[in-house]
């Protein structure tokens, strides 16, 4: 169960990426930087890597 809802969140972010990637410039690129700063930066969510030695999911 651990990491369950973060897996759902990551799935959502991947789906969102498919739609937004073709139009990333201007203001949508600003928003993209905000999203990455939160989920990858602040929350340290990463691609699934079981047993990562540093940080990542508990």
């Amino acid at each position: 169960m651990s990491g369950g809802s973060n897996r759902i969140l990551k799935g959502f972010l991947e789906e969102r990426w498919k739609g937004i990637r073709p139009v990333l410039w201007g203001t949508s690129l600003k928003e993209e930087e905000l999203i990455e700063s939160i989920y990858k930066g602040l929350f340290n969510l990463t691609a699934e890597e079981p047993g990562r030695p540093v940080g990542g999911e508990a």
């Binding site: 169960m1 809802s5 991947e14 201007g26 990455e36 930066g41 602040l42 990463t46 540093v54 999911e57």
Partner: protein, 408 residues
């Protein structure tokens, strides 16, 4: 018209650091900013380089890392430059609200997503997070406070969690600034501490969202620790950031006390450039346009979110001086296939290229404007989000840019 020794454009951590460094040398400084800067969104701890493993001593880890990354902003400052800049930063935060490293290397702190995240310096209100163990920790959330899901955090961290109805405010729609202001009231935090104590089952650590007051967070921490008998820590969470707002307020207080001029809330609308030098800037302050002149300028306007860079459909521009911007290929090459690609998206390496003095250069390496320097995340060839290096780059390059500017 007022004339300044230095005008700093940007009120994020890089700009604030540059302004404070210059004031310390005795310069007459103007700092201008469109908004409050990224500190109030993401400021929490001071990251230097999260990818250095916690067991590695930081000076050694970064020195080796710089050797392998000669284009990175840290290669301009070196470890010595980082260390002096960080020492100066820490002097701005004496006890009771100091920033400190918990060991010789990075420590891991819990986040608002229930993950662990590496960082270097933590404010005293977060320090216990690096020492907590799941079985001895209680995570406390607040009913109606949607920016911090205490039950998700406790689930992922494998801790026990409770969601409290606050003594006075059990309603929907609580915000971080509202909670922080409540914490500033002694009676509120005493009652909160008592509510937490009643929920405890022998835990030695209490984790709360990072809202422990704006005015005197150390006093909030002390009250909660005294009432609960446990070590209390703040957990970084979604923007806006209360801990980052504290950093911003501390810098602003210091800069104003030392005589710096602040112009906030209005964009730079034009620059006066002549013979390869900048003579002044104009700021839109409707219905007026104000002009400010200086001998030197530091550009610390951030990346896309802060407005330091702007992406058109096929190229990236720097809007204030129209500086040359390094960009990784065409737009199709800016991003990876997946959001969570193992490598950072190439666009994050885009930015302003500089010489060793942090003066912007063109693709051939020629200095563009002799009296302008760039600092902070606008610089090319870092990946601050993935590297976890945002504050380190801001502090080290802001410090270096001011030293070099005033030496010329």
């Amino acid at each position: 018209m007022k004339r300044f020794d230095l005008i700093v454009i940007g009120t994020g951590l890089a700009g604030l650091t540059a302004a404070r460094t210059a004031i310390g040398i005795g310069a007459k400084v103007l700092i201008v900013g469109r908004g409050m800067g990224a500190l109030t969104l993401f400021g929490n701890t001071v990251d230097l380089l999260g990818e250095i493993p916690p067991a590695t001593e930081m000076a050694e880890g970064i020195t080796h890392w710089i050797a392998a990354h000669p284009e990175h902003p840290y290669a301009r400052t070196g470890w010595e430059g980082i260390e002096s800049a960080i020492t100066a930063f820490r002097e701005l935060f004496p006890p009771p609200y100091p920033f400190a490293a918990s060991g010789r290397g990075n420590s891991l702190l819990p986040t608002g997503a229930g993950t662990m995240r590496p960082t270097w310096l933590t404010p005293v209100t977060m320090a216990a997070g690096a020492a907590m163990t799941p079985s001895e920790t209680l995570i406390v959330g607040f009913r109606g406070f949607k920016d911090f899901q205490g039950d998700t955090v406790s689930l992922h961290l494998k801790c026990r969690g409770v969601v409290l109805s606050l003594p006075r405010y059990g309603l929907e729609g609580l915000t971080a600034p509202a909670l922080a202001r409540l914490m500033d009231e002694t009676s509120f935090r005493e009652r909160l501490g008592e509510s937490i104590r009643q929920q405890m089952a022998g835990e030695r650590f209490i984790g709360l969202p990072a809202v422990l007051g704006l005015r005197d967070p150390a006093a909030v921490l002390k009250t909660l620790e005294t009432v609960t008998g446990a070590r209390v820590f703040e957990i970084p969470m979604l923007p806006p950031s209360i801990p980052g707002t504290r950093i911003f307020h501390r810098f602003r207080e210091e800069l104003i006390a030392k005589g710096a001029d602040f112009r906030m809330g209005h964009p730079v609308s034009g620059v006066m450039v002549k013979d390869g030098r900048c003579a002044g800037i104009s700021i839109d302050n409707p219905p007026l346009v104000a002009e400010y002149r200086a001998d030197r300028f530091i550009l610390a306007t951030g990346r896309f979110l802060g407005g330091g860079l702007w992406a058109e459909m096929d190229r990236i521009i720097e809007p204030v001086f129209d500086l040359p911007v390094f960009q990784p290929g065409e737009r199709g090459q800016w991003f990876g296939e997946r959001f969570f690609d193992p490598e950072a998206h190439p666009i994050h390496r885009a930015g302003v290229l500089t010489d060793a003095d942090l003066r912007p250069v063109d693709a051939a390496g020629r200095v563009v404007l002799a009296n302008v320097r760039a600092a902070g995340s606008i610089l090319a060839h870092h990946q601050a989000i993935e590297e976890k290096s945002r504050e380190g780059i801001d502090i080290a390059t802001g410090f270096l840019a001011a030293k070099r500017a005033l030496a010329s």
